[in-house]
C-alpha cells in the first residue's frame, strides 16, 4: 500500500505555532493592504469621476495598466525592481507596496461603480447649496453610494486575502509561504495544505459574515 493516502493530524499540532504565526502575518498583511488601499482607491475613483481631464486620464491609465498585469509581476517589481531604483525594502513592506499598487486599481473600479449610481443631480444640488467639495463627498455622495459599493467592496477584500498568498513567493513568511516551507521540511503536503485552506476559509468566512451584517445595517 505504498500509494495509500495518509493524514497525520498530529503533525499539524506539532507545527501549530508556526501556522498560527503565519496566519497572523497573513491577517496583518491583509489588514494593512486593505487600510491603505481603501482611501487610495476612493481617491482614484473620485479622480475618474470628478477630476479634471489630466487627473482623470492619469487615473484611468493607472487602473487599466495594473488590471492587465498579474499581481505576481507587480510583486516582482516591488521586490526585485525597486532596489534597482535605489529603494530597498524588507520582504514584508515590499509585498505590502506591491499588493497596494495592484489592489488599488481593482478597488478603484469597484468604488467607482458605487459613485456612478448616485444621480448627478445630487452633485449639482450640493453645489447649489454652497457645500464644499469635501463636504459634498463626505456628507452627500458617500452615504448614498455605500449600499451600492458594499457588495463589490467586500468581494474585493476577499480577493485581497487570497492575493496575499502570492507574497509567499517573494519570501514573506505568511500562510502559504510558511506552508510551503513546512511541506519542504516535513514532506507532509496534504496536512499543511488542508490546514492552511481551512485557515483561509476561516478568514474569508468572517469577511462574508461581516458583509451580511453590514448589508443588513445599511438597508
Amino acid at each position: 500500500m505504498g500509494a495509500a493516502v495518509t493524514f497525520d493530524i498530529s503533525i499539524i499540532a506539532l507545527h501549530s505555532h508556526a501556522l498560527l504565526l503565519a496566519t497572523w502575518r497573513t491577517m496583518l498583511l491583509f489588514v494593512a493592504t486593505a487600510a491603505i488601499t481603501t482611501p487610495l482607491a476612493l481617491a482614484v475613483a473620485l479622480a475618474r469621476q470628478t477630476g479634471g481631464r489630466l487627473l482623470c486620464a492619469l487615473a484611468a491609465t493607472y487602473v487599466t495598466v495594473f488590471r492587465l498585469i498579474p499581481v505576481l509581476v507587480v510583486l516582482y517589481f516591488s521586490f526585485y525592481g525597486l532596489p534597482s531604483l535605489g529603494v530597498s525594502l524588507a520582504p514584508l513592506p515590499a509585498a505590502l507596496v506591491g499588493l497596494v499598487i495592484a489592489s488599488t486599481a481593482y478597488m478603484g473600479e469597484d468604488l467607482r461603480g458605487g459613485l456612478i449610481a448616485v444621480p448627478p443631480g445630487q452633485w449639482q444640488a450640493a453645489r447649489a447649496l454652497g457645500l464644499s467639495y469635501r463636504q459634498t463627498v463626505q456628507r452627500i455622495i458617500i452615504p448614498q453610494a455605500i449600499p451600492r459599493m458594499l457588495p463589490p467592496y467586500m468581494s474585493r477584500l476577499i480577493v485581497i486575502v487570497k492575493s496575499t498568498a502570492v507574497a509567499g513567493i517573494v519570501s514573506v513568511d505568511e500562510l502559504t509561504g510558511a506552508s510551503y516551507d513546512l511541506i519542504s521540511s516535513t514532506y507532509h503536503a496534504t496536512e499543511f495544505l488542508a490546514a492552511s485552506a481551512c485557515l483561509y476559509l476561516g478568514i474569508n468566512g468572517v469577511l462574508a459574515l461581516v458583509q451580511v451584517l453590514l448589508e443588513r445595517r445599511f438597508h
Binding site: V65, V73, L193, Y200
Partner: protein, 199 residues
C-alpha cells in the same frame, strides 16, 4: 507557454462550467446546495494553494502529474466556478416564458438554442466571462512557482541571469497587457458585431 496554458485552461473549464451551471439550476435541492457549497469553498481558497495541492497532494494519492498538467488542473479548478456563475446569471436572464414559447412554436432544439437562447445568453454572460478569462491569463503567472517555464518563470530566470530587472519586468508587463488586450478586443469586436451595448 503562457498562451498554451491559457488555451488549455479555457478549453477545460468552459465546457465544465456550462455543465456546472446547468446542475446549479437542477430541480434537486441537494445537488444545488452541494454545488453552491463547493463553489464557495473553492472560491475561498487562494489559487496558489490549489496549485500546491495539485502538485504535492495528488502524487500522494497516486496521481503523478507533470508541472504543466498540475498547473492546468489547479488553475482550471480555481476559475471554473467563476465561469459557472457567469453562465448561471446568463441563464437566469432568460425568462421561463421563452422555453414555453419555443415549445409552442415547435422549434427544433438546435435552432432554438442558436436563434433564441444564445442571443439572449451571450450579452449577459460574455462580459464577465471575458473578465475572468483575463484573470486566467494573469493567474497563469503563478504556474512559474511549480517550475512551469511560462512567461513569468522565464522572466525570473532572465532577471537572475542578467540583473536587468526593470527592463525585463516592463516587457513582461507589456506581454500580459497585450494578451489581456487581445481578449478584451475580441469581446469589443463581438459586441459591435452583434450590436450589444459595450460594457
Amino acid at each position: 507557454m503562457t498562451v498554451w496554458l491559457v488555451v488549455c485552461i479555457l478549453a477545460i473549464s468552459t465546457p465544465l462550467s456550462v455543465l456546472l451551471a446547468f446542475f446549479m439550476r437542477s430541480r434537486l435541492r441537494a445537488v444545488r446546495a452541494l454545488l453552491i457549497l463547493l463553489s464557495a469553498f473553492v472560491r475561498g481558497i487562494p489559487p496558489l494553494l490549489l496549485l500546491f495541492a495539485a502538485y504535492f497532494v495528488l502524487p500522494v494519492a497516486g496521481l503523478v502529474l507533470t508541472p504543466v498538467e498540475a498547473a492546468v488542473a489547479a488553475l482550471s479548478l480555481s476559475i471554473v466556478f467563476y465561469f459557472a456563475e457567469c453562465i448561471r446569471s446568463g441563464l437566469a436572464a432568460i425568462s421561463a416564458g421563452q422555453h414555453d414559447a419555443i415549445r409552442a412554436l415547435g422549434l427544433p432544439r438546435g435552432r432554438a438554442l442558436r436563434r433564441v437562447l444564445l442571443p439572449q445568453l451571450l450579452p449577459v454572460a460574455l462580459p464577465p466571462y471575458v473578465g475572468y478569462a483575463t484573470e486566467v491569463v494573469k493567474g497563469s503567472a503563478l504556474a512559474s512557482v511549480i517550475s512551469v517555464a511560462e512567461a513569468t518563470g522565464n522572466a525570473y530566470q532572465m532577471i537572475m541571469a542578467t540583473g536587468k530587472t526593470l527592463t525585463i519586468l516592463v516587457v513582461l508587463g507589456a506581454v500580459y497587457a497585450t494578451l489581456d488586450g487581445i481578449l478584451l478586443g475580441l469581446q469589443a469586436l463581438l459586441a459591435r458585431r452583434w450590436k450589444w451595448a459595450l460594457p
